[in-house]
Point group: C2
Chain length 245, copies 2
């Protein structure tokens, strides 16, 4: 585990930080719905602390863009319009491109082996997600799939060794859609999942071939393609991205 603090410098030690992490987790996992109001009193009860650290945690999440804030009205889980969502992916596409190209220059054999492992995990999760056994928990499967997906890119981040940019990329990644989404799946979506996996393999190959420009292009296209996947799922699940806000 990356253990170390979350953004740079900050971290554990104070309740405010632990709670920020906990709330973030709740948002990302979809436990807290986008748009829902975050009552300080209620959170304070949930986490058994006073409102003071709660508010500090919310301030932090607000600065990171995960929650929105209106004076005297409160915080709510942020919702993104299609345009904003697209921007978040465009941003990530640029950053992933940069990071991946730098990683291609630096990767050692060990790094490549680690990437291989991450890719295998991701591949396994993708198969599990496509299998759709009756009675499996698609929600947690999706969360696991996303984690494996992130895990793959995290290896690349580590190799590139650009902590500040990595932080920004991760933030854009969190902001992506807020909650995890999942769909029963159909042929279109299946194809997109498979394409996603193929792209990972291609990126992996570009790193192995020490091709910075190739890696950049592939990573860039990969992220934009993920936007496509997400949008398709959201439509299929009857929750299309709002055109305006």
């Amino acid at each position: 585990m990356s253990s170390a603090a979350h953004p740079l410098g900050e971290g554990i030690g104070t309740k405010a930080d632990e709670i920020a992490l906990a709330i973030e987790e709740a948002i990302v996992s979809g436990e807290l719905e986008p748009g829902s109001v975050l009552r300080q009193e209620q959170l304070s009860a949930t986490y058994s602390v006073s409102r003071t650290p709660i508010r500090e945690a919310l301030r932090r999440l607000s600065a990171l863009g995960l929650v929105s804030f209106e004076a005297n009205r409160g915080f709510r889980v942020r919702t993104l319009s299609r345009q904003e969502m697209y921007e978040a992916f465009l941003l990530r596409a640029e950053l992933e491109g940069l990071i991946t190209s730098v990683a291609a220059e630096k990767a050692t054999q060990d790094d490549l082996a680690e990437l291989e492992q991450a890719e295998k995990r991701f591949s396994r999760l993708t198969r599990a997600l496509r299998a759709r056994e009756p009675g499996d928990d698609r929600r947690s499967l999706t969360v696991d799939w996303m984690r494996a997906n992130h895990g793959f890119h995290d290896v690349i981040y580590r190799v590139a060794n650009l902590p500040l940019i990595e932080q920004t990329a991760k933030n854009a990644r969190r902001t992506f859609s807020g909650p995890a989404v999942w769909a029963p799946g159909d042929e279109t979506i299946d194809e997109l999942y498979l394409a996603n996996e193929r792209q990972h393999r291609a990126i992996q190959a570009a790193l192995a071939a020490r091709s910075p420009e190739g890696a950049r292009e592939l990573a860039h296209a990969h992220v934009l393609s993920s936007f496509n996947l997400l949008e398709t799922i959201l439509e299929q699940v009857g929750r299309p991205l709002p055109r305006s806000r």
Copy 2:
């Protein structure tokens, strides 16, 4: 003035937000030295409020990366190593490249006229900065020059109309070095200032010519060149970027 809130959504209304802005201003203008500890009690006295909104403000700045934080030890104005500083500029280079290329596709005649105005202001300030009249306040001159510099890019941001990415770019820009730096100047630095101005004009021309790829390249190179300028000034002023942290 841009009036509207700072990041997205947040803004005026609460003291915590006003104070965050005030402290940020103090950091960016160099009033608060990098590395200096921010005592809550003292800030509370300075702004005539209790420590509660002060702490919320600091939390926010911490999430934005302007101040660093250690549990039970306090907040301090963040210092960046050379590597981190370089990363901040690399990040900005990518984002400016993206934003400028999008702006090149969208710019209207009015936009180009506005850009022309911003360029003129910047050009004027550059001349003033190079003039070095005896008795002029180089500190505030530099702050003004930076503002004009930012103003030029702000026009482009507005034209590109990518608020989320704009926000990220502005954040990277704030984080750049913390405080403004200024030097009496010599031939090398003069030449760099002039190069900077030439680059602005080139970017302007690329926008006028509706050349997205050209604009991207120029903007990218421009930001990296700014890093060079900054580093040169810092060395000249006897405060070179720390190699490690």
